[in-house]
């Protein structure tokens, strides 16, 4: 059986945005309760996102209500309707919770996600493989999956359930191991675990450079060794590469999403572009926006460097 990749007919450099409710560069709500893109987000969408060949937006729950597409459409219609038709759109999910046991019922969420896909024409959905919540309780950063045989079996079942239910491919993303918050439990190496999860579910995947480095860093690797063992990843299944701001702080690796890309991320990107035959999308994730809807200086510098780094790879 061949892997179901998204349809993207040429190589693409794009931008992905986390969109929290109530944040200055996310969704805004006026005094009457009406939602819309914040002014900074609306400007960025018009001036920058619309010029990209692809873009992703993240979904986060709007409120404590039962899922209802109509609650989201005022703001989402405004944002996605402002993008040029040429922009391929994707959805970064935050609630599929692919590492969680069957006590987590995705049925309503998958129906809702398909409704979003149908309305906004998303070409793919992606989510980091991990615990985004535990028994219904929120976490500050997704926990990696349980790196055991049981954890792998559960993850594969969950991924297959989502692949079957979603009307577009799910890109399974390698999880991050940030700060002191990533509880690593189990004997599997995360590269091997991820490869098995992706191959057994026959899924396309996303490789996030910061997340990959965070695992290698946490395992004590430094220098060139950060880029070793890439053959243990499901390189043939990689469709998308993410780059989001990251840094080290002493012995800690911070998946900071602050717009500043590390030199090591560009080195790893070059390795992956050479070795992933099916990669079609490179995405700068979470540039930091100013109040007037431009990338801040740090993010703009990273973005310029990324454009240069992929120039030869792009058509």
């Amino acid at each position: 059986m061949t892997t179901r990749f998204p349809e993207l007919h040429r190589r693409s450099l794009g931008i992905g945005l986390d969109l929290p409710w109530g944040a200055p560069t996310g969704w805004a709500t006026d005094a009457s309760g009406q939602d819309s893109p914040s002014p900074a987000l609306a400007t960025f969408a018009e001036t920058t996102l619309s010029r990209q060949s692809h873009a992703f937006v993240s979904w986060q729950p709007r409120s404590r209500g039962v899922l209802n597409l109509a609650d989201y459409t005022p703001a989402w219609d405004a944002l996605l309707g402002s993008l040029a038709p040429s922009v391929t759109r994707a959805l970064h999910h935050t609630a599929l919770n692919l590492a969680h046991s069957k006590r987590y019922d995705r049925s309503a969420l998958l129906d809702f996600t398909n409704a979003l896909i149908e309305r906004y024409g998303f070409a793919w959905v992606n989510e980091d493989l991990g615990f985004w919540s535990l028994n219904g309780k929120p976490l500050p950063y997704p926990l990696p999956p349980l790196l055991t045989d049981d954890g792998l079996s559960v993850a594969v079942d969950n991924i297959c359930e989502c692949q079957e239910a979603l009307v577009v491919p799910l890109l399974v993303e390698f999880p991050g191991f940030s700060r002191d918050w990533s509880l690593v439990m189990g004997p599997w190496d995360a590269y091997d675990f991820f490869r098995e999860a992706v191959v057994r579910s026959n899924s396309p995947c996303t490789l996030d450079t910061g997340h990959l480095l965070s695992w290698r860093w946490g395992q004590g690797h430094r220098g060139q060794a950060l880029f070793d063992a890439l053959e243990r990843l499901p390189l043939d299944h990689c469709f998308e590469i993410h780059l989001s701001g990251a840094q080290t702080d002493g012995e800690r690796f911070l998946d900071a999403h602050h717009g500043a890309l590390m030199d090591e991320q560009f080195t790893l990107l070059a390795h992956l572009l050479r070795r992933c035959p099916n990669v079609r999308a490179v995405t700068f994730e979470d540039p930091v926006l100013t109040a007037d809807g431009q990338m801040n200086t740090v993010s703009a510098t990273s973005w310029a460097a990324l454009q240069e780094a992929v120039a030869e790879w792009l058509p």
Binding site: N97, H100, D105, L109, S133, L134, G136, G151, V184
Partner: protein, 242 residues
């Protein structure tokens, strides 16, 4: 044990140690948490993870968690939190709440089941504390939940039992010396003092029972019921036992 059950057991253990400081201490003491020795060792090994750092962050995020229409716990329970601060200085209020059995049912991500809202769990915990004024806690709780239900008429949580009604029409009543209504009707919040007779109507008592209880003619009760319906606090002129 199936793979599902094995992962579920780890989820339970993780929730225990991350959300309950007492369970976390048991982990550090080497007590049995229902995990395999290898997984328990993984959790205790500082080079691989830091349970305390993650738990601290969870508690910090709880204090910063703003629910649409209500805001943070500090916004919803200002008098209750002030009473705690006055009684015990800078006590670790939210850490103690998270460690309590009253916080356990809170599950705001609704796909693992519906539970009570954060405000109810907090109120349930606060009323167990010696510094709390139960009437104040109840008033702050009902006010906050009223706003939550006006914002989300079809909530993905179980409203406090004080609230009667259905999506889009929620009413709670406190009785006693000064009966008060807390209602979320068609997206609007309606709160304020009411008469004991209106309280009885909102609690679903029949006109005949209320006429006897208050010593007034039944037609007068019916007229009052009609006025309450017109204000939107009752959905029909028929009494309901919901």
């Amino acid at each position: 044990m199936s793979a599902q059950d094995a992962v579920a057991a780890v989820e339970d253990a993780l929730v225990a140690v991350l959300f309950n400081v007492d369970q976390r201490q048991k982990l550090h003491n080497g007590d049995d948490l229902g995990l395999s020795s290898q997984l328990a060792a993984d959790l205790r090994t500082p080079s691989r993870c830091d349970v305390d750092a993650l738990a601290d962050e969870i508690c910090t995020r709880l204090t910063q968690r703003a629910n649409r229409g209500v805001g943070r716990l500090q916004n919803a329970f200002p008098k209750t939190i002030a009473a705690c601060t006055q009684a015990s200085g800078e006590a670790p209020l939210f850490e103690a709440f998270l460690a309590s059995p009253e916080s356990a049912p809170w599950m705001p991500v609704p796909f693992a089941g519906l539970g009570p809202c954060l405000e109810q769990c907090f109120a349930d915990w606060a009323t167990q504390q010696p510094w709390a004024d139960d009437d104040v806690v109840l008033h702050e709780l009902l006010t906050a939940v009223c706003r939550a239900l006006a914002t989300d008429p079809t909530p993905a949580f179980v409203p406090p039992t004080a609230f009667r009604g259905q999506p889009g029409h929620w009413v709670a009543v406190t009785i006693g010396a000064s009966p008060t209504v807390f209602a979320a009707v068609q997206g609007k919040v309606v709160t304020g003092p009411i008469t004991p007779l209106i309280a009885g109507l909102l609690q679903g008592q029949s006109d005949a029972d209320l006429a006897v209880a208050f010593g007034v003619p039944e037609p007068r009760v019916a007229m009052t019921r009609q006025a309450v319906v017109q204000k939107g606090l009752l959905q029909s002129t028929e009494p309901t036992d919901r």
